[in-house]
């Protein structure tokens, strides 16, 4: 198991280098260099500040040297400071000369997106698993047909459209759910008085009783979580259905039935557990989709997560933030895939023994 892990970790190195190379090359797609693009968005940018930018990013060096220097800074988790947002650091907080602490942008946004993604993954598992099993056990009967229709509509549904409709119907027309941000307005005022050292999203918890805080957060997250889970709900239901159908036709299921085991035991102990194995990999592979999908839900609902941060950065051509999020997003995906593989090895003794020797 340890050897397997080490091997997997080792494989991540060339991938990370490749990812950084692609993020870096994208930055150089822009016609001219970043100082001219930045300047065009900021007419007041002086020749002096342009020179400073050129210096920071070593734009006068050959491309390969620039890449090397960027890689070096990245290796120490230094992703630079934002062009647009009062020069805040991109990744981690840092203290300036006056001893003021500047919060890292990704550091603040990431927990929010992770929370939303974890909630949608849980929603996907809780809803899609039973749907898939019901579908498979009733193959080609009405329940299966109904679920299949749901699956196809779920696949084809433009998430932003459904979000818009829900926003209008639940938020504006009936006023049941809030339609923007993470917390209700009153709480944010309270949060301003709290010491800076608490992460922004945690500030208001200090002022409210826990159940009220959680209920407020849940109401704000309900639609966004549902929207980001939608595609996965459809995909995983279909996946579980097909997996179950495959397994149910295997010889060992016939054997289990032949020796007189109760149907429930056959379905849930023999079939389902085997049908679920590939699900681990699929969930791991769905992570980049979930992270990328956060752009639409978060910018529509004004949730200050990675997706919104990225969208804003794109609009302002905030290069350090764009490159930082690309790299961090990809690294997260790699970590997700690694976790999925480890979980797979843990769940499947064949893999575990095969690689552990």
């Amino acid at each position: 198991m340890t050897r397997y892990l080490l091997k997997r970790l080792f494989w991540m190195v060339p991938l990370l280098v490749g990812i950084s190379l692609i993020s870096f090359l994208i930055m150089h797609l822009a016609p001219g260099d970043i100082t001219s693009t930045e300047a065009s968005f900021n007419p007041k940018a002086s020749e002096e500040s342009r020179q400073k930018l050129r210096q920071i990013y070593h734009l006068d060096e050959p491309l390969i040297v620039q890449y090397g220097l960027w890689l070096k800074r990245m290796a120490t988790l230094d992703f630079g400071t934002s062009f647009a947002s009062h020069q805040r650091p991109v990744l981690l907080e840092h203290k300036d000369d006056k001893g003021e602490v500047h919060k890292g942008m990704i550091q603040e946004a990431l927990p929010i997106t992770l929370l939303i993604n974890l909630l949608s993954l849980s929603l996907i598992i809780v809803v899609a698993l039973p749907l898939g099993v019901i579908s498979a056990l009733n193959q080609n009967k009405p329940p299966d047909r109904a679920i299949t229709v749901f699956v196809f509509i779920g696949f084809a549904m433009p998430g932003f459209w459904l979000a818009l409709l829900l926003m209008y119907w639940l938020g504006v027309a009936h006023n049941w759910l809030p339609i923007s941000g993470l917390h209700s307005l009153g709480y944010e005022k309270a949060s301003l008085q709290v010491a800076i050292h608490v992460p922004l999203w945690a500030n208001f918890y200090l002022y409210l009783s826990l159940p009220v805080q959680l209920w407020d957060l849940a109401k704000h997250l309900a639609i966004p979580v549902f929207i980001s889970a939608l595609g996965g709900l459809a995909g995983i239901s279909l996946f579980v259905r097909n997996g179950m159908l495959d397994v149910l036709h295997q010889d060992y299921i016939t054997t289990a039935r032949a020796k007189g085991l109760p149907e429930n035991t056959v379905v849930y102990r023999h079939a389902l557990r085997n049908a679920l194995l590939p699900l681990i990999t699929i969930l791991g592979l769905s992570i980049p989709g979930l992270i990328g999908g956060s752009v639409i839900a978060e910018s529509l609902f004004a949730i200050p997560g990675m997706g919104k941060l990225f969208y804003d950065a794109v609009l302002m051509r905030d290069f350090p933030v764009i490159m930082g999020i690309l790299t961090i997003g990809a690294a997260l995906t790699l970590i997700g895939n690694l976790l999925a593989d480890v979980a797979y090895a843990w769940a499947d003794p064949r893999v575990r023994r095969g690689v552990g020797g």
């Binding site: 991938l15 993020s23 433009p158 990328g292 990809a330």
Partner: protein
């Protein structure tokens, strides 16, 4: 035409054919100029003179929907064409030459797959001017990985088959092996993934246009009509309903067609 014996594929085909027809005939069917602003007809609900109402500038939504269908289809086809071309070439190279060629190409696939696609697309667009052509290219350049894997897998298994080995023994050159024997036999799964790929390209384009980073006004796209719909959602439901339904139906059509083709072309699924 065996593929259309499948009811799913038939429905999908019917939807796509209808959308194609409407898109092709858009200039003939459209009752108004899609870009014509009419300040005396702002935000009119659907009626006999404006079937889908008018938008915030008094433009006829039905006409804009028809021209939006052209954009949607164009982006879908061209983007997927680019992705399929790249995917087939790289997959064929990897599967045929194996060794270091295979390693390099597959690592590139891994790298591309680990960067969240929508982030990648947005990042590239941030540095280019958003235009229809740039969007098609960017979607194409970020969605070839699936095809590459498919073609590579087909090549790897076909390469060991007797008909290929015997052609090789008879002295067939690499080019002939690839183009006469391997490629034609590995295209079936590619067709299915192409159809499904158009579906996701349509979704991505409409999402980008909705965010204001895709097709730019005054050009009509279903996504940017929806952007207006968001603006006026409290007074003008028709601006949100019709483009959303159009995207949903079109994507559904491609998905049904793709799944139907998969069932029809895959001999194993005739259980």
């Amino acid at each position: 035409m065996k593929a259309l014996s499948n009811p799913l594929a038939r429905w999908g085909f019917a939807i796509i054919a209808a959308v194609l027809l409407l898109a092709l005939l858009a200039p003939l069917i459209a009752p108004y100029d899609p870009d014509a602003i009419n300040v005396r007809a702002i935000l009119l609900p659907p009626s006999s003179s404006h079937w889908m109402g008018t938008d915030g500038l008094g433009r006829d939504v039905f006409s804009r929907m028809l021209f939006g269908a052209r954009i949607s289809l164009l982006v879908g086809f061209v983007a997927v064409g680019i992705a399929t071309a790249i995917g087939v070439v790289l997959g064929a190279l990897a599967g045929f030459y194996r060794g270091w060629v295979d390693t390099v190409i597959m690592r590139l696939v891994d790298v591309m797959l680990s960067i969240p696609t929508f982030f990648l697309i947005l990042a590239v667009i941030a540095f280019l001017t958003p235009s229809i052509w740039n969007i098609m290219i960017v979607i194409g350049l970020t969605s070839w990985m699936g095809v590459t894997r498919l073609v590579r897998a087909e090549f790897l298994s076909l390469r060991e088959r007797e008909f290929v080995l015997s052609a090789q023994t008879l002295g067939a050159k690499n080019g002939r092996l690839i183009f006469r024997h391997l490629l034609p036999n590995s295209l079936t799964p590619v067709i299915v993934s192409t159809v499904l790929g158009v579906a996701s390209a349509v979704l991505v384009e409409s999402g980008l246009s909705f965010l204001g980073l895709g097709v730019q006004p005054p050009d009509a796209s279903w996504g940017n009509i929806l952007t207006d719909g968001k603006e006026y959602i409290e007074f003008a439901w028709w601006l949100s309903l019709f483009p959303g339904m159009a995207i949903l139906l079109t994507v559904l059509g491609y998905n049904l067609l793709g799944e139907g083709l998969r069932d029809a072309l895959d001999p194993r699924s005739n259980k």
